[in-house]
């Protein structure tokens, strides 16, 4: 299959596909980050995670509309406002859901899976009824349009670069929160020993709610970033949920580095294969590879041996 390309063309293909893969990587990682916090730290499966992301995307869409109509002067900067709003909206919804639903199910992980699936169906229908069934796309500010020409044959889109930068920043913030902040310490304490954490004065219920809220909030931010590179519809979240879960599980649920590396390897494999094979076969091979490796190493790629 390489016959028809020259060496330099092949090089460019790999770079461009690598870049496309990096955008996919950003989407996977942003979604997986929230999921990794909720699943990795709390052991809760949130099948509605994609819908929290879509909520963030809708918030971004409406913020862009509002800026266009009321504050056109500030339009170039609307995205940063939208991102904050998306975090707050998804995070708040997440905390409400934790209070109303998740906290009753901490001892029944399989049931959480079903309940959050139900939640995702409800959210999808609500989006469809409120925002309409059509996909919506935001208008990008002028500075985000266009592309950078690196060489004659290689060029990269600015919005893609922007999303990647954003991913790096958000990941860094999450890492600092997990490993440096008081909240992160409390979360890890609760995960390791809920009784003891509660005995030393940590309000475990509050930590749970906050953790779930922050995980959902990050999903909202992911959705916000998502609008920069694609359009949003009521069921767009569902398309990504299984992939994202595989990313988290593949990396080893409790490891942030693992999540990053697995998002990177899965997205790069998929986008490179996509160029040479049809999209569906590329996806099938990637997913099969992940499932196959998970069968050989169910604890994920980056976990340590611990006493059961």
């Amino acid at each position: 299959m390489f016959d028809s390309y020259s060496i330099s063309e092949l090089g460019s293909i790999f770079v461009m596909q690598g870049f496309a893969g990096l955008i996919l990587f950003s989407v996977y990682l942003l979604m997986a980050l929230g999921l990794a916090i909720i699943f990795g730290q709390m052991g809760v499966i949130n099948m509605a995670h994609g819908e929290f992301m879509i909520l963030g995307a809708y918030v971004t869409y409406f913020t862009s509309q509002a800026f266009q109509h009321f504050l056109p002067a500030l339009f170039p900067a609307y995205f940063f406002v939208a991102m904050a709003l998306a975090f707050v909206a998804s995070g708040t919804l997440g905390m409400i859901v934790e209070w109303g639903l998740i906290r009753h199910l901490y001892k029944r992980p399989l049931d959480t899976l079903l309940a959050t699936w139900g939640l995702s169906l409800i959210l999808q229908q609500v989006y469809r009824s409120v925002f309409g069934p059509r996909e919506v796309g935001v208008e990008l500010p002028a500075w985000m349009m266009g592309s950078l020409k690196l060489t004659d044959t290689i060029e990269v889109q600015i919005n893609g670069l922007f999303v990647m930068t954003l991913t790096v920043i958000i990941t860094a913030v999450v890492a600092v929160m997990m490993f440096r902040s008081r909240w992160g310490m409390q979360v890890r304490a609760v995960v390791l020993n809920r009784m003891m954490a509660s005995a030393v004065g940590i309000n475990t219920e509050r930590v749970d709610r906050l953790t779930f809220g922050i995980g959902c909030g990050i999903a909202g931010v992911a959705g916000s970033a998502f609008t920069m590179i694609g359009s949003t519809g009521p069921t767009a979240g569902q398309l990504y949920i299984v992939d994202t879960f595989l990313v988290v599980v593949f990396g080893g649920a409790q490891s942030l580095i693992g999540t990053i590396l697995s998002a990177l390897s899965i997205s790069q494999t998929q986008s490179t294969l996509e160029f040479f094979l049809s999209g569906s076969i590329a996806k099938v091979i990637t997913l099969l590879g992940v499932v196959g490796i998970l069968m050989l190493r169910p604890q994920g790629l980056f976990t340590l041996k611990v006493r059961r």
Binding site: L110, W117, L119, L121
Partner: protein
């Protein structure tokens, strides 16, 4: 719940027999007498999902293994049957306008000029019947062996089965030339020359389906009442204790998962026969998870409950999506949440805690308290 239960030594207790008889009365007598053939065919279609739901009772309710990919096996069973019917419908004289006569129409549209090798054996009906059961069961056996031997379970298993369902759907849709793509395998006509599209054939197939369903129900009762059934319950509760009592836990899990897959496959094949087509929309994640709700509504520990749950949810679906389509998803989503939060034992739980005690009181004048139909316990993890 009555704490004192007698050990079950016979095959079925009296209340179980009564339960099966009531269901048979509904399915074999009442519904065929009251419904027109269109509606009866619809019920027949729902009942093919009941095979999946019963399989989930065994695998999820008793075994504690939640598979979110039962559509895989339903679909594989259905596709095996559809391949046979499609080959029969694609005889040379039926397809003489094609550029390659004698192969299914979608292959011709996709520029295939010969039948792919894996289609060829499906020209034989006995082979098809064996394949309907064996292909999905073998596939489940492989998945189960890979996962359970390595102690993968719980939510991981759910996610992986979901991923496999997604992979299979993408594969079927992507490989149109071999599978009929997103439309599936359609335009199925005859089974050994017998036209399955007529009302009369649909009527007969309904009863064939019902007979198979009761056969499967009997088989499940048999498995559940055997020591294997109790080992499943024990495993769900204290897996390590079973392991250190000398059992190879993985092989029991593989068995029950493959068993559930075989049941789903029967359902899939009967679906193809009664509805006249098979498509990837019955394979993927969404239908697979939806089938779990049938079991959950019926009561995850109740074999008969699974049938009622399937019928109820599907009647509701048909009614709602005919009149208020936008409400249906809300209703279904709400159902998932309600069943998990408020009624983890489903309809069977409501029966056990509210109806059965009253019946027992009523019957107790004649004899001793009948044993409850099913042990309702804390929900499986």
């Amino acid at each position: 719940m009555n704490p004192e239960t007698t050990p079950r030594t016979g095959f079925l207790t009296r209340s179980q027999l009564v339960g099966i008889a009531l269901l048979a009365l509904l399915i074999v007598v009442l519904l065929p007498l009251t419904l027109d053939i269109f509606r009866l065919n619809l019920v027949g279609k729902y009942l093919t999902y009941a095979f999946v739901a019963i399989g989930l009772v065994m695998c999820w309710g008793y075994g504690g293994i939640l598979s979110l990919g039962q559509g895989i096996f339903f679909g594989l069973g259905g596709y095996c049957m559809a391949m046979f019917l499609k080959l029969e419908a694609s005889s040379v004289e039926n397809t003489k306008i094609q550029s390659t006569p004698g192969i299914p129409d979608f292959m011709d549209w996709n520029q295939l000029t010969a039948l792919p090798w894996f289609w060829k054996p499906f020209a034989s009906f006995p082979f098809t019947l064996v394949a309907v059961i064996l292909v999905p069961t073998l596939f489940a056996f492989i998945i189960g062996t890979a996962m359970f031997r390595r102690r993968v379970g719980g939510v991981y298993f759910g996610i992986i089965t979901q991923a496999i369902a997604a992979i299979l759907t993408i594969l079927i849709i992507g490989q149109q030339g071999y599978t009929g793509g997103i439309n599936g395998i359609t335009d199925l006509r005859t089974l050994h020359g017998w036209d399955i599209r007529t009302d009369h054939a649909k009527f007969i197939l309904y009863f064939v389906n019902a007979a198979l369903l009761f056969g499967v129900i009997g088989l499940c009762f048999l498995v559940r009442q055997s020591k294997l059934g109790r080992i499943l319950v024990a495993m769900r509760d204290k897996e390590d204790r079973v392991r250190f009592s000398g059992y190879d836990v993985a092989s029991f899990k593989i068995f029950v998962f493959a068993f559930a897959a075989a049941l789903s496959a029967i359902g899939g094949a009967m679906f193809t026969l009664q509805v006249g087509f098979m498509s990837p929309s019955f394979v993927g994640i969404v239908p697979s998870v939806e089938m779990v709700i049938y079991t959950a509504v019926g009561g995850r520990l109740s074999i008969l409950g699974a049938v009622y749950g399937t019928l109820l949810v599907n009647f509701a679906k048909t009614t709602f999506s005919e009149s208020f389509p936008e409400l249906w998803l809300l209703g279904l989503g709400g159902l998932f949440i309600a069943v998990v939060l408020a009624f983890p034992a489903g309809l069977a739980g409501i029966y056990d805690s509210h109806i059965a005690p009253r019946l027992a009181k009523w019957f107790s004048r004649k004899g001793r308290t009948p044993t409850p139909a099913m042990p309702v316990s804390t929900p499986a993890e």
